[in-house]
């Protein structure tokens, strides 16, 4: 007799039958978190409503089009273009707006309901959890895209369809959706409602602008727009590849940032994401060697993201994280300096990024004769702007529970203050005098960069930018010394066999 029969008798046979069916299906080959998320996600009203609304609206549009302009008529060409516009606007709302917005709750729900602990006790690590949640949302987006195909076939018979361009637009939109979903899922690990609210606001803002961009680019031919790119030249192909790479990188990196925030201290996510970041920078240079302004913008985006993340990572990890580094022998010190988890190594990693950026900048000035000799000042001010919040958090907000949230809040505050100073300077015609405020408000230097570089102020802009950047870096370096001492202690503990009791007080670090 089964033990449970002592308590409540009569197990229900249908449940057994259901379990047998459930356990032998195709889902056994998929990731557990993907299966769970799809089971939940496909039953959620948000998805069901979005799916049904999309189908009904597209159905109505096609029926009206066919009725108003018979297939083969001259009128049908114009109607066909309009139908395409509707397709893309409706699809964009569903997969570029609604699906990413759903991602904003992905990890936050688990954190709020205390179910994340139970997940982390299984064999799923933080990356598999985050990636699985993202993949489930992207799979649902894919389902929405696939459900549009029958209407595209109908639209083909109306004539005037740019098949390749429209399929490419669909693909681009899907990649954009995947990227935005990644960003949203990554941000969902942030418990701060303010930050998640800002991300939601940004997505809702794109609700207003994005469909218009797509509609206009499709209906007017929109030459040069990413949605009607023809990929006829090598230059266009490399630009498009760089854009796809950038979107994929952003999606990936934000997912990694989310995974880092929920990972236990015994898990190291930093090394991998920093190496991927460096590889992406290399790929960008390879794809866009002769498009320097575009390369610089992409570079700026990637480097900024890497720097912000590296400087706002929590510095709490266990001795087990050091083990793989110990296998590198003497090189472990160098690798650890840049790739260990936490903002202390992130500081050196940011320094490395600043160095490579300067090198790129000098190359552009000396070899390609692009840019100006004031560009290094701009980049220094840019890094100082990113170092400033980290310095404030490490010196004055040590008890902050979530370093990333604290960093973002300080960064936003510093940008707002700088903007206020800039506006005051503009209205009182004293922007040039305000150069003295740049060391405490580096973002002000960026905002007034054009004014400064065009006048005699440019002579003192470079030394001010260098000094500001170095001062913040040194302030952070001083603050990180305790952390490095702890890492050395952990390293020595690992060197002793068998491992003794680990005594690492990282309370305040977290």
């Amino acid at each position: 007799m089964a033990p449970s029969a002592l308590i409540i008798p009569a197990p229900a046979p249908p449940a057994r039958a259901a379990s047998a069916a459930l356990l032998t299906d195709f889902s056994d080959r998929l990731s557990p978190i993907l299966v769970k998320e799809l089971r939940q996600g496909l039953r959620q009203p948000t998805f069901v409503i979005a799916f049904l609304c999309l189908q009904v609206l597209l159905c109505i549009v096609v029926v009206i089009s066919v009725v108003s302009a018979p297939v083969g008529s001259q009128e049908s060409l114009r109607v066909g273009e309009t139908v395409s516009g509707f397709f893309f606007v409706l699809l964009a709302i569903a997969i570029v707006i609604v699906q990413p917005l759903r991602g904003l709750g992905a990890l936050a729900i688990e954190i709020k309901a205390d179910t994340l602990d139970l997940l982390l006790l299984t064999r799923l690590n933080s990356w598999r959890i985050t990636f699985g949640k993202w993949l489930a949302l992207v799979s649902q987006s894919a389902l929405l895209v696939v459900a549009v195909f029958p209407y595209l076939i109908l639209r083909y018979y109306l004539g005037g369809m740019q098949l390749f361009a429209e399929l490419l637009a669909l693909f681009t939109m899907f990649i954009m959706s995947a990227s935005l979903t990644g960003i949203a899922v990554g941000f969902s690990a942030t418990t701060s409602l303010v930050i998640r609210g800002l991300v939601a606001l940004a997505l809702v803002f794109s609700l207003i602008t994005l469909p218009n961009i797509i509609r206009v680019s499709l209906m007017r031919g929109g030459r040069g727009s990413p949605f009607t790119i023809t990929l006829s030249t090598a230059s266009e192909i490399s630009m498009y590849a760089a854009m796809v790479l950038l979107m994929l990188f952003l999606g990936y990196y934000f997912l990694e940032m989310g995974a880092t925030q929920i990972s236990p201290p015994a898990e190291n996510r930093s090394t991998c994401k920093r190496l991927v970041g460096l590889a992406s920078l290399g790929l960008l240079v390879w794809l866009l060697p002769d498009k320097f302004p575009t390369l610089l913008i992409c570079w700026l985006l990637v480097v900024s993201l890497l720097t912000v993340d590296a400087l706002s990572e929590r510095a709490e990890f266990t001795a087990s994280v050091l083990r793989p580094f110990r296998r590198l022998g003497p090189l472990r010190y160098l690798a650890g300096l840049f790739l260990l988890p936490g903002w202390a190594s992130g500081l050196f990693f940011a320094g490395l990024l600043a160095g490579t950026t300067m090198a790129l900048c000098m190359t552009s000035i000396l070899t390609l004769a692009t840019g100006t000799d004031k560009m290094p000042a701009f980049w220094m001010l840019w890094f100082a702007t990113l170092l400033f919040p980290a310095a404030v958090v490490s010196w004055f907000m040590r008890k902050a529970k979530n370093l990333f949230t604290a960093y973002i809040i300080v960064l936003l505050a510093s940008l707002i203050v700088s903007l206020v100073f800039f506006v005051i300077g503009q209205t009182t015609h004293s922007v040039k005098e305000m150069i003295l405020l740049v060391p405490v408000c580096p973002a002000l230097g960026l905002m007034s960069y054009r004014e400064y570089s065009a006048t005699q102020q440019s002579e003192i802009l470079i030394p001010i930018a260098i000094m500001t950047c170095c001062a913040y870096w040194i302030a952070l370096f001083v603050r990180s010394s305790g952390h490095w001492a702890r890492i050395r202690a952990m390293d020595q503990t690992l060197a002793m066999k068998p491992p003794a009791a680990v005594v690492v007080d990282t309370t305040d670090v977290a």
Binding site: P3, R39, G482, A501, D505, T507, V509
Partner: protein, 327 residues
């Protein structure tokens, strides 16, 4: 034989707060240990460290000889964790919930089918397999939570307040399941506020207060012995005017009304001296109390716990100054 759970000089600090302050204990394999303490005593923090969900500030914690800090992945295969606060997912049935956890724990195909069948029958979840997991009663949810903790057949089970909020029937069922698990040779560490139930179920009891262990031993010896001050407990029932007992006790030296009841109450006499007890009874009669019943009573776990927690040396230490730490 090595201990199933070994904790040595464990510390966990949250800033200036010492949630766990240098505790040490060992639990042998196959035994059931009760972990008792008031709210904020450090029970959940200790249990979370045992389950690898939190990191110790200092000290050594081992599960079946494996360090929870050095090798958390190995420990997770050996520990089943049942939290005090358990939430389940929306849009998911009980079976799907269990199935997800079985998948996440690495069970595949027939193996998963068999394991789920075993666990769901053991925890009596089969009749409710198709019901939405988030619409269950508290008792059923606790069974689901226990089932989830048992999926990977762990040697050690850490159950944080498993009986909290359960009705009497669900409590009896849970107790029965715990007995069955103990009979299977599992090691269980259970925290609960219902001390009498722990006394029945557990081979040993650990009392924790303000992050320090104040008792580590078996329940019987705890109840058999007089308390640390050498007092004894007396049950007194009055035929009329039971309220008078409280007022009368306040006038007497070395006597304290521990618990008032409908017809009298439980008194604690400061010394384990039959002569003093007899004298006390004589004084009661002399002072006009209508004593109907007067007998010495075995101390229960609540008394033992309160006596220990109430000791002056068990009062919370003052909070230290905020340390200037470098990170």
């Amino acid at each position: 034989m090595s201990a199933a759970i070994r904790v040595h000089n464990l510390h966990r600090h949250f800033g200036p707060l010492k949630a766990v302050d240098g505790i040490s204990f060992e639990i042998p394999p196959g035994s059931v240990c009760g972990f008792i303490g008031s709210n904020g005593a450090g029970k959940t923090t200790t249990m979370r460290i045992l389950a690898t969900l939190d990191q110790p500030s200092a000290g050594l914690v081992e599960i079946s000889g494996v360090d929870v800090v050095q090798e958390p992945w190995k420990v997770r295969h050996r520990v089943g964790w049942m939290p005090d606060h358990f939430n389940v997912y929306d849009h998911m049935s009980v079976l799907e919930f269990m199935d997800f956890h079985a998948r996440a724990l690495g069970f595949r195909g027939k193996e998963r089918q068999h394991r789920l069948q075993e666990v769901m029958e053991f925890t009596d979840l089969m009749p409710i397999a198709e019901r939405p997991a988030n619409k269950l009663s508290k008792g059923m949810t606790q069974r689901l939570c226990l089932g989830r903790a048992l999926v990977h057949d762990p040697d050690v089970l850490v159950l944080d307040e498993p009986a909290a909020g359960l009705d009497p029937k669900a409590r009896v069922e849970l107790k029965h399941l715990i007995r069955l698990l103990a009979a299977e040779g599992k090691t269980l560490l259970i925290s609960s506020h219902i001390l009498s139930e722990l006394g029945e179920m557990c081979d040993s009891l650990i009392f924790i207060n303000h992050g320090k262990i104040i008792h580590d031993g078996d329940a019987e010896s705890l109840m058999r012995h007089t308390d640390v001050t050498g007092g004894i407990y007396l049950n007194v029932q009055l035929a009329s005017n039971p309220e008078a007992l409280g007022a009368w006790c306040q006038m007497q030296p070395n006597v304290e009304l521990v618990e008032a009841s409908k017809q009298g109450g439980r008194l604690r006499l400061a010394a384990d001296d039959p002569a003093q007890a007899a004298a006390l009874l004589a004084r009661m009669v002399k002072d006009g109390l209508s004593v109907m019943e007067f007998h010495r009573e075995q101390r229960n776990l609540e008394d033992a716990f309160m006596a220990m927690v109430g000791r002056p040396d068990m009062q919370p230490p003052p909070l230290p100054q905020q340390p200037e730490t470098m990170d």
